[in-house]
């Protein structure tokens, strides 16, 4: 029972999701699934946050649970991030689907199950559980993208993502199999112990590392495994884009954190020049380059956010590359970054939902022109989100970037240069983030241009208020959240 309570955020989602499915299937009248699902996600968020504050590292849990699913502060922290992102996406979907007459209850249920899979992935302490979580999350996302069946872009996006995702999953699985072959275990602890004890063939471990890293790199859309991201983000409906850009990325990163500090936490494998930090640094640099340069030429905001997501994956990878030098600080910085990124990106896409109405979506930068003049309050969250993603104080993104680059600077050597590259490319990112702010506040629509007409809907407004509050709070008073991230980071190194 204690285990059930300790895992309440996950259990709530799973049981609640199944119940909603049943209710929807058998109810005579139309059920407000969006409200039910967001309530459930909200409850899960509250429980996760409560656990994080009250008892982040419960003890006395049966080993049958902890061997497969970690129950620690890190887990609760990622739960909070994932539920926040899922909640914003659900609320946005609640408005979006109705406004554009695409309402289908399956989307919410897929979203719920995908979140559940993401939570399992983020907590997995065993490679098999990890894979199950990964696929639960991914399959649901493929389905969500394909939900607009009569839209060619949607189908194309889903097909691409599905095929490439399957390749990536196979690559990951192969890596896991190699690790099993090398060590005879599937749980992170067992593999770690075998490697530490010198019972594993180093070359095989190295191969396993490369394969698993590639699998994760695909899921977090790090260059050069990013190809699918812009197309998939563009083809998906806006709330789905918001969901996948945060939840999938954050869960995969959290899992990567567990695997790489656990399985590959060996000092030899983590050696700054001959170990994986160099590999990760290369991925980071490439992602920051591709993401920031790619976003410059884009007009579609979903694509801009896709490239921005690639760039942000690069920033987070800078933190991963510094794990070897300052493990606790870097972990805390990475975890904090998730929260900031979830707030910023979620808020941006929720705003984008709010800007469209009646079958007319606002997707291009040009669609936003002059919106800040016509609807100053409604446009503000979008501007806040852009400033946060850019990293301007006093928003969440500033401290997130500061902590990450600080950790990299402490790691020294090539990692300090990586931080420098990160700052320089952040300047580049100003070009495309600020372009949106400029479009909102300092532009006038051309004669006869179609201007975005924002919708009137409570759900998305709620999401925007929630997201703005989070982003500003994280920027103005980051203390509490940072302490929680530190606490969560320490959990990994117990």
């Amino acid at each position: 029972m204690t285990a059930l309570f300790a895992l309440a955020p996950l259990v709530l989602l799973l049981v609640g999701g199944l119940l909603i499915m049943l209710v929807d299937a058998f109810a005579k009248e139309r059920v407000e699934v969006s409200a039910l699902v967001s309530t459930l996600l909200g409850a899960s968020f509250v429980v996760a946050a409560g656990s994080l504050l009250a008892d982040p590292n419960p003890s006395g849990l049966p080993a049958e649970i902890t061997r497969y699913l970690a129950v620690d502060a890190t887990g609760y922290f990622t739960d909070v991030v994932l539920t926040v992102a899922a909640l914003i996406a659900t609320l946005a979907a609640g408005s979006y689907l109705r406004e554009h007459e695409l309402e289908r209850p399956e989307i919410y249920l897929l979203l719920l199950l995908s979140t559940f899979g993401a939570m399992v992935l983020a907590r997995a302490a065993d490679l098999i559980v990890l894979f199950i979580g990964l696929e639960t999350m991914s399959l649901a996302v493929y389905g969500m993208i394909a939900m607009r069946r009569n839209n060619a872009r949607s189908i194309e996006a889903a097909t691409k993502y599905f095929l490439l995702g399957s390749f990536a999953a196979a690559i990951f699985l192969f890596g896991a199999a190699l690790l099993y072959g090398a060590t005879g275990g599937t749980s992170i602890a067992a593999i770690r112990d075998a490697i530490r004890g010198g019972h594993a063939e180093p070359a095989l471990v190295m191969l396993g590392l490369v394969f698993t890293l590639a699998g994760f790199a695909f899921k977090v859309a790090a260059a050069p495994f990013h190809g699918w991201a812009p197309d998939a983000y563009e083809g998906a409906m806006i709330p789905v884009t918001g969901f996948m850009s945060v939840v999938v990325k954050a869960a995969a990163f959290a899992s990567l954190l567990r695997v790489f500090t656990g399985v590959f936490g060996d000092p030899l494998l983590m050696h700054p020049t001959t170990g994986w930090p160099t590999l990760v640094a290369a991925l980071a640099l490439l992602s920051m380059l591709v993401g920031n340069l790619g976003a410059l030429g884009q007009k579609n905001i979903k694509r801009i956010l896709a490239f921005s997501g690639i760039a942000h994956a690069g920033y987070v990878l800078v933190g991963f590359a510094s794990l070897h030098a300052v493990p606790e600080d870097a972990t805390a910085a990475i975890l904090y970054y998730f929260l900031a990124y979830a707030g910023g990106t979620g808020l941006a896409l929720a705003s984008l939902v709010a800007f469209g109405s009646k079958g007319l979506e606002a997707v291009d930068v040009d669609d936003l022109v002059g919106l800040g003049k016509r609807h100053p309050l409604l446009a503000l969250p979008m501007a806040i989100a852009m400033l946060s993603l850019l990293g301007i104080p006093p928003t969440a993104g500033f401290f997130a970037k500061l902590f990450l680059f600080q950790a990299a600077a402490q790691a020294g050597g090539i990692f300090a240069w990586l931080a420098l590259a990160g700052v320089a490319l952040s300047v580049v990112s100003g070009f495309y983030y600020l372009r949106i702010v400029v479009a909102l506040y300092a532009s006038e629509p051309a004669e006869g241009a179609v201007v975005a007409r924002p919708m009137r809907s409570g759900y998305v407004l709620l999401a925007m208020v929630f997201g703005s509050a989070l982003v500003v709070k994280l920027g103005v008073m980051p203390g509490l959240y940072l302490d929680l991230a530190l606490e969560a980071g320490r959990g990994l190194f117990h």
Partner: protein, 741 residues
């Protein structure tokens, strides 16, 4: 009404200054992890700037009330002005580098919102965009400098950094930080080559120009460098860099004034020039520089803000700011004319004005040290043009008889627009009459920059004599302004010399580069993405294998081939079947044949299972393969009938090489893995020994499924049946949908 807030703050700051003894501090933790705290350190320098911000702020708020009248958007402008003022106060009071940075960026943001206020005009929008890019870009560089500085000093408190400065002086990282800070300060204070945004920002409403772009915000860069001068003062590049950049800016901006006809833009260029002088003063060695700087900052605020107000009044009443069309306005706008005259006296540095006092101090500071005599001479034309600009703003448009092209139904500006310029300008004159009133204040502030700052005795006659050439030249420039303007305006600078074009060009280049990147790797073709994915994997694998070559050799040596027997030969045969069909798939073109060959591959896998001792698994695999082939074939038949089939593209050599390479690498990895088998056989032995005695079954697999792991099987069946029902429901929904059509 809103002016009460800045006025109250102004009163408070004056009181604090009068009782000033020691700096007071306010601290509370912000991010304890990094040692960042919201620390405020209010010393005389900070108080001096606070007085400036709140004092000019009071006038700006009063003026804005009249200027905006019943403008529907006035609430927005006022709220951003308040935000800006708060940010400025925070920035000069902050004692933490990151807190300072936060407020610094907040002022940029406020500036952006205020410049884009007149969003109807294209120029306003473009200037807002430009100013934002320049100041935010500079802000990031500044942050980088702060990060390095905080890292060197081990603290992010400014006072702490100053105290720790001797420890890291001379380190290359410190010099790097210095140049980062330079870039930040130069972007904010509009120094070459980042100067162009300031005149363009004149698209903002007048109160904004007066407040942000002349009196306060643009002085933040000056403030920052003055504040941390101590840290870098020993670096031999500190002074010369500032003198060169500041001096060049100061001179160049004055040349640019000659190109302008718009009164506001003329004043803006004069501001850029003044900011350059301030930079130069920071760079000058000796204690006099600090004193001169503080005095000049005060004098500049007291004359430039009123002149902007004057320009606003003129614009408000006549509808134009073109100095060619303005003449003889003193008759209709006597109050404004008086304010302009008072301010111009100070700007021109005429005796008995505060501007004169500041100018004398500047001259003394420059005279110190032979090397800088040249600068002193070089500044004569700059001062001369300043005099001319002052004369234009005060004499030409108000007293000079022009063509009389102004409309006759003109009137003086409303009361609230007359008082602020008059108040500030007359203060400038009054202080000039007895500069000793503010002496203690200036000295206290200057002491925060250089501890040994003190008031120097001014040799009046010598100074006055020194001013003669300046005024002579100034009168000449004023008299021949129109002719000079024509000449200078004709000169077209080659575009590579214009910083603005470089900014625009770099934007274009970046976008161009981006489009190349996007076109080459983001083409939208699935096959290309997959190829990229696999070639990266291949490269990574090859690298890893090469890196562990020594181990790799031992690995392959480990591989156990075991004894050759019939079963093994059969497995080998199955593998050959697999390999052959895999290769065949890459060259075949007909979809049906492809499908059949893929079935063959499945058969190969099944056979290898069969002969490796897993008949049940082989059976399952076989059934799955057959079912798959049948299902896909039926779909393909339908597709063929619809005629929408795409023939698969022929195999390209590169793709073939990629597949072969990846296959080889993976095979190598598998061979390597098979050599290190550590898999436990304990479970297999247990089930083999216990299935007959415990569960009475000869088929171990069956016993396993329905006995040992019965609960798992039950779960599986449940899930399967649930999935069946779900699928059935989905199909039912489809049918309903189709029936509905």
């Amino acid at each position: 009404m809103l002016a009460i807030a800045p006025f109250a703050l102004f009163v408070w700051a004056s009181r604090a200054f009068l009782r000033y003894e020691a700096p007071f501090e306010l601290r509370f933790p912000w991010v304890p992890w990094l040692g960042v705290e919201v620390g405020f350190h209010v010393d005389a320098l900070a108080l001096f700037f606070l007085l400036l911000i709140t004092g000019v702020g009071t006038c700006v708020f009063v003026y804005a009330a009249g200027y905006l009248g019943e403008d529907p958007k006035r609430r927005r402008l006022f709220s951003w002005l308040v935000v800006f003022m708060a940010a400025m106060i925070g920035a000069v009071a902050a004692d933490d580098l990151f807190v300072l940075y936060t407020f610094w960026e907040l002022t940029s943001l406020a500036s952006f919102m205020l410049v884009s206020y007149h969003h109807e005009s294209e120029t306003a929008r473009r200037s807002a965009r430009q100013a934002m890019l320049v100041t935010f870009g500079g802000g990031f560089v500044l942050l980088l400098g702060f990060l390095v500085l905080a890292g060197l000093a081990g603290t992010s408190s400014i006072q702490g950094v100053i105290a720790a400065a001797p420890r890291f002086a001379g380190e290359p990282a410190a010099r790097f930080a210095m140049f980062c800070l330079f870039v930040g300060a130069f972007t904010k204070s509009a120094q070459i080559p980042f100067h162009f945004w300031l005149p363009d920002a004149m698209a903002a409403p007048t109160p904004v120009s007066a407040y942000l772009h002349s009196a306060t915000m643009v002085k933040l860069g000056v403030y920052l460098l003055a504040r941390i001068e101590h840290v870098f003062a020993d670096d031999w590049l500190f002074g010369p860099t500032l003198i060169v950049v500041g001096g060049t800016t100061s001179a160049w901006a004055m040349v640019k004034t000659l190109r302008e006809r718009d009164l506001k833009r003329i004043l803006a260029w004069a501001t850029v020039s003044a900011l350059g002088t301030m930079m130069m003063l920071i760079g000058l060695p000796g204690a006099e520089g600090a004193m001169a700087l503080v005095a000049f900052v005060l004098a500049h605020a007291l004359y430039k803000a009123p002149l902007f107000f004057v320009a606003g009044n003129v614009d408000h009443c006549t509808g134009t700011r073109d100095i060619g069309q303005l003449a003889a306005l003193a008759r209709v706008m006597p109050w404004t004319a008086a304010a302009a005259l008072a301010a111009a006296l100070s700007m021109g540095g005429f005796p008995l004005s505060f501007g004169h006092f500041a100018k004398e101090l500047i001259h003394i500071a420059k005279r110190d040290g032979d090397l800088y005599t040249i600068i002193g001479y070089g500044s004569i034309p700059v001062s001369a043009i300043t005099v001319a600009v002052a004369a234009i703003a005060a004499v030409r448009i108000f007293w000079h008889r022009g063509d009389g092209s102004i409309p006759s139904e003109m009137h003086e500006a409303p009361f609230s627009m007359r008082i602020p310029p008059l108040a500030l300008a007359s203060l400038g004159v009054l202080l000039g009459l007895s500069p000793h009133v503010v002496d203690p204040m200036l000295q206290a502030a200057a002491k925060c920059i250089t501890p040994d700052a003190h008031l120097v005795e001014i040799d009046e006659t010598r100074e006055l004599l020194g001013l003669v050439p300046v005024y002579a030249l100034g009168v000449i420039v004023f008299a021949s302004w129109d002719r000079l303007h024509e000449v200078v305006a004709k000169v077209k600078l080659p575009s590579f010399l214009l910083a603005k074009t470089h900014l625009e060009k770099s934007q274009e280049t970046a976008v161009h580069l981006a489009s190349i990147v996007t076109r080459t790797i983001q083409h939208g073709r699935l096959r290309g993405y997959a190829a990229l994915l696999f070639s990266t994997m291949l490269a990574a694998l090859a690298l890893t294998l090469a890196a562990t070559l020594e181990d790799g050799r031992t690995l392959v040596a480990h591989a156990r081939l075991g004894e050759i027997d019939g079963a093994r030969i059969a497995v080998l045969g199955a593998c050959v079947l697999l390999v052959v069909s895999a290769i065949a798939m890459t060259v075949l073109r007909d979809t049906f044949v492809l499908l059949l060959v893929s079935g063959l591959m499945g058969l190969g896998v099944a056979l290898s299972f069969l002969f490796a001792g897993a008949p049940d698994l082989a059976l399952t695999q076989f059934i799955v393969e057959v079912a798959l082939v049948v299902v896909i074939a039926s779909v393909l038949l339908r597709v063929r009938r619809l005629g929408i089939e795409h023939p698969p593209t022929p195999a390209s050599p590169s793709r073939l090489a990629l597949s072969l390479g990846l296959g080889a690498a993976v095979a190598l990895a598998i061979v390597a893995a098979s050599g290190t088998g550590t898999a436990s056989t304990a479970l297999a032995e247990y089930f083999g020994a216990h299935s007959l005695p415990d569960a009475h079954g000869r088929n171990v697999v069956n016993v396993l499924l329905v006995d040992f792991r019965a609960l798992d099987t039950l779960g599986e069946i449940t899930v399967l049946s649930l999935a069946f029902f779900a699928t059935a429901r989905v199909f039912a929904a489809f049918r309903r949908e189709e029936a509905g059509r």
